[in-house]
Amino acid sequence: MKIHEYQARNLFKKYGIPVPDGVVCHSIEDVREKIPNDDKLRVIKAQVHVGGRGKAGGVKLARTREEAIEKAGQILGMDIKGLTVEKVLVAEAVDIEKEFYVGLINDRNSKSVTLMASAEGGVDIEEVAKTSPEKIIKLSIDPTLGLMDWQARKIALQLMNDPAQIRQAASILSKLYKLYIETDASLAEINPLVLTPDKRVLAIDGKMNFDDNALFRQSEVLAMREVTPDEQKEIDASEKGLSYIKLNGNIGCMVNGAGLAMATMDMIKLYGGEPANFLDIGGSSNPQKVIDAMNILLSDTSVKAVMINIFGGITRCDDVARGLVAALKSIHTDMPIVVRLSGTNSREGLEIIKEFGLPTVSTMSEAAKKAIQLSKRKV
């Protein structure tokens, strides 16, 4: 789960990580009300769940209150990669002496939370990682001991020189780790972390993601959830026991199991088609799940054909086929559908589907080819 920059800022503040003053505004009126009439330099930042907002014109400087209102007006309502900007963060712009990068992530390779830091912070950090990986400090944190103060200090010492700044930076790292662990985050970044000419260390921009599996014990995090329409579809699906991710193709897929679903998409692509989605219906023959899944696929107007790919394991194919038929009977659609069943009692299952009148095949490659062929027929 993602949150906005201003929400990450709020968490930072709660954990004692210093950030520049700022307010979130939902409208021009809001800006007018919240921003005093002074000539402080401010930065107006679009709050959207997508990267690259700077290049898209979603971040602007303002020298006066009037300018802040004007710039906020330009950004609010703006479309950034398909998302409408509904909020802006209006924050005090600070003088920057040096920019750093600091990040925490769940690292599957080291099976630990890994801290990364670099004295070369800012927008080009990924470029730095590619061209000068030695400039990225990495520390795999022992989960039972946590980030020890001397470790945080050791990293701060590689970023800064002055003892007082080192203390500030080390303390920010410790607090960020505490925040990360206590909120079940999967990513926490400060980029840039800056040093100001008056020797303060501040978090200028923050980004946090959270582990969906842990939301059951993170009600405060969950309360910050804000979803795009596509994400809403995924969440609705997940509440029905379905795992759904929308993609850009035109062949709808309905598969049991994530690995098989991925392999199915690969197969479609291999034979020249484009999958419209990832959709895992899990392991049961419950007709309701098939109905729900079918409704999701049909609501995507780009879908031109549907490929159903089921492997019968403990649930036998004939049971799955009966469930499919029951479900398809209740849905009235002229969408071309191809069904592939494999595994336990697949022969009996395919017979049941064939009787119902749908095209059936017994291998994944045939199914993919057939679905692509059907998608071309439909205009």
């Binding site: 769940n106 842990a214 394991g313 595994g343 291998t363």
Partner: protein, 290 residues
Amino acid sequence: MSILINKDTKVIVQGITGRDGAFHTSKMKDYGTNIVGGISPGKGGSDVGGIPVFNTVGEAVKATNAEASVIFVPAPFAADAILEASFAGVGLVICITEGIPVQDMIKVTPILKQNGTKLIGANCPGLITPGECLIGILPSMIFTPGNIGFISRSGTLTYEVVNMLTEAGLGQTTCVGIGGDPVSGLYYRDLLEMFENDPATEAVVLIGEIGGDAEEQAAQYIKVHMKKPVVAFIAGQSAPAGKRMGHAGAIISSGSGTAEEKIKAFTAAGVPVAKEPGEIPGLVKQKLGL
């Protein structure tokens, strides 16, 4: 021969009185798995279909000398169940539960290492030595004894491929579903080593997925240490790259994790990578000179 489990392996079930636990316990027992007990706190002394129930893993191990435990408890309690088994001295823990918070698994990892506990999963279908012992939720009927070792991150894709192998006359020594969670127990590398040392295994099929570098590490291991042939397949070649995790995700993966990289690593290690699952049995036969 086989790896990790065989017909003598004494197995206990954590969460035996739950819906899934009870259902799959009976399936495992039907298959011939040597289920010696189950755990359900407060229900110790009772039994489930003739299997004695204990209050704690410690009591169960004391009474039965169980060597393996399979976990069906809900996600919020699963990591603790893994620890309970580990501290009770269970050497092999198979965690079926899906949806466990990543931090829980990160916390568990070094403790298991310290205690010398092997973990399979979480979020995995389990493992099977066909004809001898099934631990987990695998559909037993598609497996058959033979000389192929099998490792996979996914569930139904495993079944799909195993089914093809079985239909092609390629039986299995042991099939292991290692689970698809970001942080899990045994990885490919660990299991490849076991298969390499298992006299009965003559070739290994490895089903990978995008994300992480477990496949790259496996390829490296194969290149340096393995004499037995390995055939691979990587799922997710068509998955969009878009779902990345901030800058940190890009930095830490630094290019690895894509299907392309994994296929490159395997190819460099002399491992043929199937374009689609259907090719796998043929590639295995070719490698075995059949």
